[in-house]
Symmetry: C2
Subunit: 311 residues, 2 copies
């Protein structure tokens, strides 16, 4: 059969074809919002304060990068996005809880997040602590509602989520970050922090996506490498943006890290070297996608986006 000229030109023109990332992000973010709205108690459910507070931060305009990565990983492994959805939502609940607690006066003491007042500035510290607790708990409830897969039954899914969020990973990163404030630390220690504060949950997001497709071990390994490197790149870029952007563009207080004497890549090794490291990490992320033989266009586009973003 003769190939029709121009047919599938936009969507099937080899490795250099243009993947419509904006459309992907817009449709997936909408789907994730609908699913989160479905999983969470309504804002009117008693006690209304806690559900309003949970929803305030959950729907404060987050980019849904982690859910997008989870859904894209599921697609790369030939899975159905609908089956990955509870896991994508669970990861976003974990991410949001960590931001709420991170913004507390006892931690980073931030008044703005994504251009809006932080949770404790609106609801008070007590409710903000509880809203974080509730989102963390909700994450496990939502994850438990997933289908479960032959290679990855519910037990494995919950262990994956708990270990990425626990005291050896996500929380270890927060603790190390808190303890490093105002101290001179090594680039090696900074990487330890970034691996836990950011890579752990990004890595978990793509791994859970793959698991929801019942992916074989080799694909899970490739996703792990991808998530690890994208995660590190993401955090290095966050550090860079904090130095180079204004608060207005960023939607949060810029220059905060410098003022809080936080160790960051730019402060430790300079801006240009930091940019080089971010680019290198992304290259390594891209090469882990080779295992998917061109089926990981969404993941590839997301990684590119994370490096090129300006806020």
């Amino acid at each position: 059969m003769r190939r029709m000229p121009g047919r599938n030109l936009r969507h099937n023109s080899g490795p250099s074809r243009a993947f419509d990332l904006q459309k992907f992000l817009a449709t997936r973010s909408e789907a994730v919002n609908r699913a989160l709205d479905h999983f969470l108690p309504a804002a009117t459910v008693r006690p209304a304060t806690i559900h309003k507070s949970m929803r305030y931060s959950l729907f404060a305009g987050g980019k849904r990068m982690r859910p997008a990565l989870c859904l894209a990983a599921a697609a790369a492994c030939g899975g159905r996005e609908a089956e990955a959805m509870p896991l994508a939502c669970a990861v976003e609940c974990i991410h949001t809880y960590s931001l709420i607690h991170d913004d507390l006066p006892a931690m980073d003491d931030d008044d703005f997040r994504r251009g809006k007042l932080t949770n404790h500035k609106v609801f008070g510290e007590g409710i903000a602590v509880l809203a974080g607790d509730a989102l963390l708990t909700q994450a496990f409830e939502i994850a438990a509602r997933c289908k479960g897969w032959p290679r990855y039954p519910h037990r494995e899914i919950i262990l994956e989520l708990a270990s990425a969020s626990g005291s050896l990973q996500l929380i270890a990163g927060q603790v190390a970050d808190l303890e490093a404030e105002g101290k001179k630390i090594s680039a090696r220690h900074l990487r330890y922090i970034h691996e836990r504060k950011t890579s752990a949950l990004l890595c978990c997001s793509v791994r859970l996506g793959g698991m929801s497709a019942n992916c074989p071990a080799a694909q899970l390994k490739a996703l792990t490498d991808f998530g690890y490197h994208v995660g590190l790149a993401f955090q290095v870029i966050d550090d860079i943006l904090d130095v180079t952007q204004t608060s207005e563009t960023l939607g949060k207080t810029a220059g905060k890290d410098t003022r809080a004497q936080k160790a960051t890549y730019p402060s430790l090794i300079g801006l240009e070297k930091s940019r080089k490291i971010a680019a290198d990490l992304t290259t390594r992320a891209f090469s882990s996608l080779r295992a998917f033989r061109g089926k990981a266009d969404a993941l590839e586009a997301l990684a590119g986006f994370l490096l090129k973003r300006d806020r």
Copy 2:
């Protein structure tokens, strides 16, 4: 075969036999401590601060009532205590996290708990928030390590734990408690608070114990009734003790509720009526144990102990 005189006299002399509760509590509490020590990262594991902080509160001399109830429920349903152990530990982690966050300045602002400085007084507020988060996360990790049972696979176990600890139960109780401070509330609203703040997790403890024995629905229903009534009684007694005992006996700041203008049973309906209610609730708890036809002696003894305790 002729029954030997005196044989099994102590342990098998009918419904009025003396169950050795002190021994039960001592042995189980020791076993729970060993299991918790096994499940939690060592205090030296990096970052050491968070593991020291988690362990500080977890091993601060808690009575292990929830684990004891969980193990006793498992025994009442003919289950093996070893199989109930991860669930008993998970419930204790949830309980401890809720105490750490509850004691924070933004919440109850308490300096002492069980006769020791509260977590944030020792480790600072930031670490206390994170230690609570870590224990909550750890609870799900430990629960996921359970065996799983035909009637109650991992999915059901996680949903049980998440729903009892979530924004409609345990956290709802904390929120309602926080919001009721300094306000005049009805006895009905106070019961709403107690049901969530205390009954939810006690109920979950005995239900999980039953589940670990793969108990039939009727036994689960009996355990639910038992947990609900014991939980309410427990909280009413806590309120009573806060009024009647000194800080020294209690191991925490006594009279705190009154000073914080917290709604309590004694403040709403008086001390004598409160005592009557606690006794009534315990009677109802006892009657739900009839379903176990004399096999629930540990649960029965625990319920008695909860009513008779003086601190």
